[in-house]
Amino acid sequence: MATRSDSPPDYLRGVRRVLVTVIALVLVVLFLVWRIDNARVEQLRVSLVDRFVPSFSWTLKPVAETARMLADLRAYSRVYEQNAELRRELQRMQGWREAALQLEQKNARLLALNNVRLNPRLTFVTGEVMADSGSPFRRSATVNVGRIDGVTDGSAALDGSGLVGRIAGVGAQSSRIILLTDASSRVPAVVRPSGQRAIVTGDNTSAPALEFLDQADELNPGDRVVSSGDGGLYPPDILIGRVAIGADGRRRVLLAADYRRLDFVRVVRATSLSAIDGPVELIGPSLPADAVARAEPGE
C-alpha cells in the first residue's frame, strides 16, 4: 500500500492495531456477559430505553403517523371496489350481530343462573406504542406505560382484537412487549371447536406455529385459537388468532392482533390468580379464631 502524507506513521499503526484488538476482545467479553447474566443486562437496556425513548417520542410518533397515512392514501385508488365489498360485508355482519345479541342475552341468563363471579382483578391499563425493536434480532415494541402505571413483568398485552404479547422489561414510564412473533414467545392455547391444547410458538415469521398438538389433522383452517390460561401468565380465553396451514404443512396461527397498526395496547394489570395452597381451608366453613383455639386442646 502506498504511504500517504496524512496517514499515521508505522509505529502508531501498530499501537492502533493492538487497541482495536483489545476493544474487540472487550466487546466479546461483553457479549458473553450478556449471554450469561441476561437478566441484569436486559435491566440495563430497559433503564436506558426508559430514559431515552419517552424524550424522543415526539419525533418518532409523527413520522410513524405520516407513513401510515401514505400507506392509506395508496388504498384510495380502489375505493369504489372497497365500498361495494364493505356493503356486502355489512349485510353479512348484520346477521351476525343478531346472533351475537341473542347469545349475549343467553350468556347473561346462564351466568345469573349459575351465580358466577367473574374475576374482578383483571384490569387494564392502555398505553401507546412508542417504538419497535429496530433490528430483526427481537420482535418487540415499547409502550409508554410502566411501573408507575402498575405494569409488571409478564403481564399480557392485548390490542382491540387479540393478544399481542407479554411484557418483558419494565421501566418507570415505559415497558417492552415481546410480541407473539418473537422467537422466544410461547403461549399455551386451546383451539376452540375441537378443544385441543397447543403451544403458540413464535419463530420470527408473521404467523407463529402451533406446536405440541395431539392430532394436527383434526384442525381446520379458520378454527379459533384462544389462550388457555395454563401457567397463569396469560389470562384464559383471549383470542390469539385463527388456524392456517403454512406452506411447509405446519399448523400456524394467523394473529388476530393487527401488528401493522399497533397503536394502542392494553396491558393486563394483575394476573396473579389465587392459587389453592392446600385442601384444609377449603373444606367446611372457616371458623373464628377463638373457636379453633377452643376446639384444638379438646382433641
Partner: protein, 173 residues
C-alpha cells in the same frame, strides 16, 4: 468546490455522533412492529460512508460508543453488533484512500458484502452460544434493505453536508 471552509475536527466528530443517534432513533419508529419488513441499519451505512470520506474525523471511541448505544437501544445482542460495526469500520478505514479514488459502485458493493458478512458472523456467534437467532430470510431482507439505503445515506451526506469523496485528500494537500 473549495469555497466551503471545512469544519473543525471535533465538530465533525460531534456531527457524526449526533447523526448516529438520529439514525438509531429512526430505526425505532414503529412502522408495523411485528411485520415482515426489516428497517435498514442506517447507523452502519452512516459510519461506513463517513469513515470512507473522513477517516480522520471518525475516531475509534465514537464508533465504539455508537455501536454499544445501538446495541442497547435496538435490542441486539449486547457487544456483538458493536463488534461487527467496529471491525467493519476498521476494514473500511484502512481502505478509505482506495475507495475514495475508485468508483462508487465498488464502494457500494464492498459495503453490502461487509454488512452481509457481519450479519453472518453475528448469526454464527449466536448459534455458538445457543442463543436464539433470527431467521435467515429475515437477515437477507435486512441486508438488502440496508444495502439499498446506503446510496441514499451517501447522497444525503454529500448533498446536505457537502461531505464528498476526495474532500479529505484535498484538505490534506
Amino acid at each position: 468546490m473549495s469555497g466551503a471552509r471545512p469544519l473543525p475536527a471535533f465538530l465533525e466528530t460531534g456531527l457524526l455522533v449526533g447523526l448516529g443517534i438520529v439514525a438509531v432513533a429512526a430505526a425505532l419508529i414503529p412502522l408495523g412492529p411485528g411485520g415482515e419488513l426489516a428497517a435498514p441499519d442506517l447507523l452502519f451505512c452512516l459510519v461506513v460512508a463517513w469513515i470512507v470520506r473522513r477517516p480522520a474525523t471518525t475516531p475509534l471511541w465514537a464508533v465504539l460508543g455508537l455501536g454499544i448505544f445501538a446495541d442497547l437501544m435496538m435490542s441486539r445482542p449486547l457487544g456483538l453488533g458493536a463488534l461487527g460495526l467496529l471491525l467493519a469500520s476498521e476494514w473500511f478505514r484502512r481502505r478509505a484512500a482506495r475507495f475514495q479514488s475508485g468508483p462508487f459502485l465498488l464502494e457500494w458493493l464492498a459495503m453490502a458484502l461487509a454488512f452481509a458478512a457481519v450479519l453472518a458472523a453475528m448469526r454464527l456467534a449466536l448459534a455458538l452460544v445457543f442463543a436464539e437467532a433470527p431467521g435467515l430470510s429475515m437477515l437477507v431482507r435486512y441486508a438488502v434493505t440496508t444495502a439499498l439505503a446506503y446510496p441514499l445515506v451517501v447522497l444525503g451526506l454529500a448533498w446536505c453536508l457537502k461531505l464528498r469523496a476526495g474532500d479529505a485528500a484535498r484538505v490534506a494537500r
